[in-house]
């Protein structure tokens, strides 16, 4: 059995794959060996390209006011007491690639607590759980495609990809568009995190500009006096939609 790779080993792999990558790749590859879990879980056959205008996937699930409650978007008010950590507002817009807002659609988030621990049985990182923080939230986008969450800044945490591996702080986002093809799960990062260059999950996006689109902007306009700091993050959903192909008829 070979020794576990070190961070330096993984950093070198990240460099190599970046040098070999086709410039301008907007999505991570399915196969990215520095992220070890991808090895046995990426399809080896090429995807079958479908351009059928009748595909069911050009429509998609819808959600409404019955699917969320008002408190879902405030992760700091889901328990009796105040969670520990730095309170933040995270807000932005969900757009499609033609710049149209995704209205009235479901946004879900989940994250570790301020100490870097998830409220998940399998997360046994010996950092404290916070009885006042679960770390999951939901909202519907408004008429401009806007979303807004109040939460606390998550901590970085260790994982077992390689020896002494740490993930930069991030919030997981789950997004729906108007078509099932646009379904997106991704992660939002915080600006200036020194762990970025060591993280094979973020670095799986080999194009620098594409990678930068996963990092929120600090936005003092979203800060609230005596209460919270603010981050702004817009999301653009990929994939064809029924209205996209019907644009000429509108």
């Amino acid at each position: 059995m070979s020794a576990q790779p070190t961070q330096a080993d993984i950093d070198r792999e990240i460099e190599r794959y970046r040098a070999e990558a086709v410039p301008g790749q907007e999505q991570p590859p399915r196969d990215y060996p520095p992220y070890r879990s991808s090895l046995l879980r990426h399809p080896k056959q090429p995807s079958v390209v479908l351009t059928d205008p009748e595909a069911v996937e050009l429509s998609g699930p819808v959600f409404g006011v019955t699917d969320v409650t008002e408190l879902d978007s405030d992760l700091t008010r889901q328990h009796r007491g105040e969670p520990l950590g730095e309170r933040i507002t995270v807000s932005g817009r969900i757009l499609d690639r033609s710049g149209r807002p995704v209205r009235g659609q479901l946004v879900e988030i989940w994250q570790a607590n301020a100490s870097g621990r998830y409220a998940h049985l399998r997360d046994q990182h010996p950092a404290p759980l916070d009885p006042n923080f679960t770390g999951s939230g939901r909202c519907l986008t408004d008429d401009q495609g806007g979303y807004r969450f109040t939460t606390i800044k998550p901590g970085p945490y260790p994982w077992r990809n390689h020896h002494n591996a740490w993930r930069p702080a991030h919030i997981h986002f789950s997004l729906f568009g108007t078509a099932f093809t646009q379904r997106l799960i991704t992660q939002m990062y915080f600006p200036g995190d020194p762990l970025f260059r060591h993280d094979p999950i973020l670095q799986s996006v080999t194009d620098e500009q594409a990678r930068a689109r996963l990092v929120a902007d600090y936005d003092h306009g979203l800060a609230e006096p005596e209460f919270s700091l603010g981050y702004h993050w817009d999301i653009v959903l990929d994939g064809p939609t029924a209205t996209w192909t019907e644009d000429g008829d509108q």
């Binding site: 879980r41 699930p61 006011v65 699917d67 879900e108 099932f180």
Partner: protein, 190 residues
Amino acid sequence: MTPPPLPPTPAQTIGPFYGYALPFPGGGDPAPAGHPDAVTVHGRVYDGEGQPIPDAMLEYWQAAPDGSRAGAPGSMRRDPTTGAVLGRHGVDFTGFGRVATDADGHWALRTLPPPADAPYLAVCLFARGLLRALFTRIYLTDPGAGGDALLDGLPPARRATLLAVAERERVHGFDIRLQGREETVFLEFR
């Protein structure tokens, strides 16, 4: 002049810890309780060594039996008093399901059969190790040669990976293999 399309936000893996945030009670039951036409579709997700994947999440989207593709809200209907999930009210068919695989990599969905002109469930698969989602389809009935453009374009062995197996009355099996000789066909939409 149409402006150039906006660059998309890249995908990132769902990771292993989504379980307290995304799955919801009744996520695997788009069929209204007691509906006489309900079918069960189930199977396992396997990795490249043939091991079941215990931390995958599957989402399903389909046309309603009457052909509607509009869906309906209410898949994760909530109780405004307690915040708890009440579940679908059973009058509308929402067309949407979400199921996390269990410790044995198994999932099950109780739904209504899709219409004959779109006889498939669209599936979006997420898992730790998948940097972006995988799309596939489950055909509950074989539309036969000339019956479906996607299936018609595939060699027989690949085609077979998209067809559910009728196990018994109203129960269909469908396994997803991420690698190997019987690797499932995955789709990319343009």
